[in-house]
Amino acid sequence: MAGKTVTRADLSEAVYQKVGLSRTESAELVERVLAEICDSLAVGETVKLSSFGSFIVRSKGERVGRNPKTGVEVPINPRHVMVFKPSNVLKAHINGEVATGED
């Protein structure tokens, strides 16, 4: 699926078009929105954005991994990872359907 890549610039352009703030302010707000989401996740808080999806922080326990090239065992430390769970609405939208059921 070779498409183009959407970046922050496209998001601020969308905010500029739809909300009617200046370009500079649109860019700043896109930054603020992302920063707030990141800050919540960084302290381990789940971020739920209805009709879009949720970002959840999971804790992974320690386990033994293996360097696939050399076969050497290496301990993998316990760590936090973040997962995205798309909402039904988003999944339907991507498949060109209309969501049915809750959410």
């Binding site: 498409g3 959407v6 922050r8 603020r32 009709s51 995205f84 798309p86 988003l90």
Partner: protein, 102 residues
């Protein structure tokens, strides 16, 4: 944090904006990401992560309760890969985190 809480927080930080505007801003961002994915595009947000889509082939599934087989048609699913900076932030010790936040 849910969307309305995010909107409230941003509205407090930006007293010159109506709450309705902030809501429109958040929705414009999310809609732009969703529309891009619907077109099959990738969305890359440095420091946060990247969204992309993956095609899943049609397959025959089974109703786990009844054992009946059901055909599942081909579909596209969104995937998210956490960015490097975000991955590091998730694993900072909490103490460091508080001092780093402003």
């Amino acid at each position: 944090m849910i969307k309305s809480e995010l909107v409230l927080k941003l509205a407090e930080q930006n007293p010159h904006l109506y709450q309705r505007d902030v809501e429109n801003i958040v929705n414009a961002i999310l809609d732009t990401i969703a529309d891009a994915l619907a077109r099959g595009d990738r969305v890359e947000l440095r420091g946060f992560g990247a969204f992309s889509v993956k095609k899943r082939d049609a397959r025959t599934g089974r109703n786990p309760r009844t054992g009946e087989s059901v055909s599942i048609s081909e579909k596209v699913v969104p995937v998210f890969k956490t960015g490097k900076e975000m991955r590091q932030r998730l694993n900072l010790p909490q103490k460091v985190l508080k001092t780093a936040a402003q």
